[in-house]
């Protein structure tokens, strides 16, 4: 992955996001939320730009980003894959699904493939326990999985 280079257009976007929340420090979480929505993740230069706009120490912003697991400093792939590790999925073999995905994509959970196509994350229950074990790729749910099915599913997302 190439390093995120911030340009004037990015800066303008961040400025607008911060302004839409009145440049208030108390709105930091909302600002981070919206920024992550836009950029897909929160690389260092984006956090610095937010710090400059709302006049807050960068360390404090990083403190919030690193505290909440929702915020991420690594980019997601074109097809973000989330594996459900909720109780139902777990007992029905979610760990095996993780292993299969890691093997197939040659990355670990929390990482992105070299080509930027896939990223792998775990989450808790998505409310589809009847289909356990399930994964989500983008907005699509795939259920009643066994490790052998992984290869074919990934083929749909080239």
């Amino acid at each position: 992955m190439t390093k995120f280079e911030i340009n004037d257009c990015h800066k303008k976007t961040i400025k607008e996001i911060c302004e839409s929340f009145g440049n208030k420090r108390s709105e930091l979480i909302n600002i981070l939320h919206r920024s992550q929505e836009h950029f897909g993740y929160l690389p260092e230069p984006v956090q610095l730009e937010i710090a400059l706009n709302i006049n807050m120490p960068l360390a404090k912003i990083y403190g919030v980003v690193s505290f909440y697991s929702f915020f991420t400093m690594t980019p997601k792939g074109k097809y973000p894959i989330s594996i459900c590790m909720g109780t139902a999925c777990y007992v029905r073999g979610a760990e095996k699904i993780v292993e299969a995905l890691e093997k197939e994509l040659k990355i670990k959970v929390g990482e992105v493939t070299q080509d930027g196509k896939y990223s792998l994350d775990c989450l808790r229950c998505i409310g589809a326990c009847g289909l356990a074990p399930v994964i989500m790729i983008g907005d699509e749910v795939h259920g009643r999985l066994d490790p052998a099915m992984i290869k074919d599913i990934l083929k749909k997302y080239e």
């Binding site: 956090q47 120490p57 960068l58 360390a59 912003i61 990083y62 505290f67």
Partner: protein
Amino acid sequence: METIKLTIDNRQVEVPKGTTILQAAHQAGINIPSLCYMNLPHLAQEHKPGSCRVCVVEIPGRKNLVPACATECADGMTVLSHSLRAINARRTVVELLLSDHPKDCLICPSSGNCELQKLSITMGIREINSVENAAMSTYRKDASPALNRNMDKCVMCRSCETVCNEIQTVGALSAVNRGFMSVVAPAFEQELTDSPCTFCGQCVAVCPTGALTAVDNTFHVIRALADPNKFVVVQTAPAVRAALGEEFGYPPGTSVTGKMTAALRSLGFDKVFDTDFAADLTIMEEGTELLDRITRYLDGDKSVRLPILTSCCPAWVNFFETNYPDMLDVPSTARSPQQMFGAIAKTYLAEKLGVKREDMVVVSVMPCLAKKYECQRDEFKVDGNPDVDYAITTRELAHLIKIGNIDFETLKEEDFDRPMGESTGAGLIFGVTGGVIEAATRTAYELFTGKKLEKVDFHELRGMEGIRTASVNFDGTYIHIGIAHTLGNARKLLDGIRKGMYNFHAIEIMACPGGCIGGGGQPLHRGNSIVLKARMDSIYKEDFNKPIRKSHENPEIIKLYEDFLGKPLSEKSHKLLHTHYFSHPKK
């Protein structure tokens, strides 16, 4: 004021409404132990995150124990600070804190000064259940020129974070990550040198454990002293003499100038000099610069930048270089006394004594951590050789004296060597907030008006308030002066100037509470304002008793200009005694 009555450990207490159990207990002579709690009344900062739970007490009838630091007293309340339940809970809390804490107390830089160690001793903890199985957090160590971070020893009291963000508004440190991995660190866990840290050292001054400690140069000094080819001279900052005694059991505010001088000579320094001499020199340069700017301004020169800001404090210099890169031409270009001393020692003095520059080692004893960084700055080196080789703190000097097997108490008082040990009361008060500007005023008044200043004490410039203002009558012309101590107050003043709110001619800024007397290199005062006040009084008392109290009357300074420098702001002065600033905005 509405008061309430309660009972703590069978003692009746009456306190104002809103008082916490911890404060009420303290008032009744009951010292409930605490760890994360920090109270800095002179800075109006009470830090009570309630995170360590060491101060838990029992309130009969309530289901849970409560933290005394964060629980308000209620009328008719009964509090048990040492019930079996409270003691057991407190012990468990401390045991858990110790379970993932390194057990290298014997060689820890904070050994003997550590609040966690004291707690463990007080509570009589002799074993920690299942400690062998406890997971240890391991963080990267971070070494800077002034202070070290060893976060394995952090107990997450976050006092440093409060000091760095609320009092200093530097914003270098914040709690990051979560759960077991949580730690206080700069953004992206970068190193302090890459962060906006100013090396003021106030985080070290409040850290209860060995997580944040000062860089120790003691052994560099011992090696230099042992080298027969080195000529080692030492300078001592004004604030050091007002606090060094505390390390040897003297009450705060005992001035130990004579004993300190004797101890340094006994340690083997070839010459024992005084930074106060260089402070007098600073006044000659900075005061002349101030007068020059004011005179030109009053004559209608609109290109003059006013107010002039003092530049003696290296943490303050770091602060404005980082936060106010657009105002780099506002501060005085005069170097700090430490650096002026080094520059003169390695030229004028070296020449006088026939010592080669590379054979001379200049050691400075400072109340400060930022001085360690300052003396390593490239602009204060000649062909790689620094003007000041090593800066050590007041605490390190106390340590050196102990290593040197010197019985401090029985030392006979001695005087500084000449020429660079001659100083005035004006140089001495550099150690307290308001002192630099008072010293400058004493000299500037006489140079500006051509009249003798009869009343040397400017009480309107003294005190402990964070921001002070005064107008001094220079024979009909009023000079408006601003004073700020702590970087947070400096920021308030500077933001005001940017907005055009103030009309000052001169501003003095010191980064530490109370000025250098409250520096990060001083005996740890843990925010005790009585200690600071005592040190301050001791400095003003010593100034009052000095035969000469104006910098420009220092005979050795007069001689230095006659023999070597010419006059203030001369070409030679500019080369040796002035500097320039660099913009390095960091967030």
